[in-house]
């Protein structure tokens, strides 16, 4: 399924483990793309190994990699927080 240029939105990847001022990257992504594909872009943006298991937090909730950004209402200027992909307390 192809989409026009209007599907591109500006989001920010944030890695809270880095110091303030260096922990955010700006990126244009297609809001119809899956969370897993955007996760790969985030890994590239922060030069993280592709084998690393990470997840996004948006509005305090962990995003399911199989769903799309649109499913979660990710829109312009949204901040996608990078966290290790593990169960809390696990």
């Amino acid at each position: 399924m192809s989409h026009g240029k209007e599907a591109l939105i500006k989001v920010y990847f944030k890695d809270p483990q880095l110091p303030p001022g260096q922990n955010q990257r700006e990126k244009y992504v297609d809001k119809y793309s899956t969370v897993s594909s955007v996760l790969e872009e985030a890994k590239t943006a922060f030069s993280l190994p592709s084998s690393m298991q990470i997840a996004f937090l948006f509005k305090g909730r962990k995003l399911n990699p199989a769903k799309t950004l649109l499913d979660y209402g990710v829109d312009e200027d949204s901040v996608l927080m990078i966290v290790p992909d593990r169960i809390i307390g696990g």
């Binding site: 809270p16 303030p20 509005k59 305090g60 200027d77 901040v79 927080m81 966290v83 809390i88």
Partner: protein, 350 residues
């Protein structure tokens, strides 16, 4: 060092040369005895040549619009551009040493008092390598200098023709013999101010919905009608207030896109919201001071946390972010920093 030459040849007789000639060290041809100097094209010299070409074309672009541009000394990257603003001339220094990556601009104190320091210019703060041009910066300087003089320096004395200075910066329209409208447009806020010229002195009326959104508009209306400020002051300050309002709208939109239960009270300029990192939900209240965004917002955490260590970490990060506030920061930056502290606490490090 890379070179384009693989087999050096004499340019006069075409015979192969014993060594590689360089720009500094000539090689004598064994057949024709001619001295051959090399014209190496290293990556560095090629880059320098491209940089010089882009700076030169940039200076030519400036020259088209500002013909009085002057190159300072032997360096083409430093230029002085006289910018004229309603009778006064200011020398603007533009340094293109880092062009197209960056630009350095400076100008005299007189111009600074009118338009602020160079790092406040939109074209400088949002400089995009490759697509931004020095001429855009100079255009902005010129337009801001004209605008601030028109908006702050003009006095109103009676007839509609006296607000001609305002019409250079604002849309001014005479809708009836007794009413003149001055339109104020910012990217998100559009409204007009009515000037009743039938009365003496003229009286100003600002629509009530605008006074509700911009509380300062009511105060300015009263002060103008009491003869305390000029029409230039009124319109200039209204435009500034509208720009601040634009900024607040943008901030709230960003907060709504990232947090929950975001509410804004325009009368008290208070934002209330929840920053969630499930299962923790942090309630914040943010008060925007009158001089926002120059003065930082007051952010208060209203949720008491059982974990003192986490609460201390949040407050520490919040204080750090607030103390380093500049008008280019956003409230979203501060709150996402806090959200990051909680996320690291809950999910740990990878």
């Amino acid at each position: 060092m890379s070179s384009e030459y693989i087999v050096p040849m004499c340019p006069q007789c075409g015979s192969p040369l014993p060594n590689l000639p360089t720009a500094e060290n000539a090689v004598t041809c064994e057949f024709c005895n001619g001295k051959v100097y090399g014209r190496e094209k290293t990556a560095q010299s090629q880059q320098l040549k491209e940089d010089y070409a882009s700076i030169y074309s940039e200076v030519m672009l400036v020259k088209q619009e500002f013909p009085k541009v002057e190159i300072i000394g032997a360096d083409i990257a430093k230029i002085r551009v006289p910018v004229t603003s309603q009778g006064s001339e200011y020398d603007v220094l533009v340094v293109l040493d880092e062009f197209p990556k960056d630009i350095f601009v400076d100008y005299p104190r007189g111009l600074r008092s009118l338009i602020g320091p160079p790092n406040y210019l939109t074209t400088v703060t949002s400089w995009a390598p490759g697509s931004s041009h020095a001429v855009d910066v100079l255009r902005e300087i010129k337009s801001m200098a004209n605008r601030s003089r028109a908006a702050l320096g003009v006095t109103y004395e009676g007839g509609p023709e006296d607000i001609s200075a305002l019409s250079r910066s604002f849309q001014v329209e005479q809708v009836s013999p007794s009413e003149t409208r001055i339109y104020i447009y910012t990217p998100r806020t559009r409204f007009f101010t009515s000037l009743n010229t039938a009365t003496s002195p003229p009286q100003v009326t600002i629509p009530s919905n605008i006074k509700r959104v911009l509380p300062i508009a009511g105060i300015l209306e009263q002060r103008y009608n009491a003869g305390e400020i000029t029409i230039g002051d009124l319109v200039g300050r209204l435009e500034y207030a509208a720009n601040v309002q634009d900024r607040i709208i943008t901030e709230i939109q960003k907060l709504r896109n990232n947090f929950v239960n975001v509410t804004y009270q325009p009368e008290t300029r208070q934002i209330s919201l929840i920053v969630p990192v499930e299962p923790i939900r942090l309630q914040f209240q943010i008060t925007l001071p009158d001089k926002f965004p120059i003065v930082r917002p007051v952010i208060t955490l209203q949720t008491r946390l059982k974990n003192r260590q986490l609460e201390d970490a949040i407050l520490k990060r919040m204080n750090f972010a607030m103390s380093s506030w500049t008008r280019f920061n956003s409230i979203l930056d501060i709150l996402t920093e806090i959200q990051g502290v909680v996320a690291t606490f809950l999910y740990g490090r990878y």
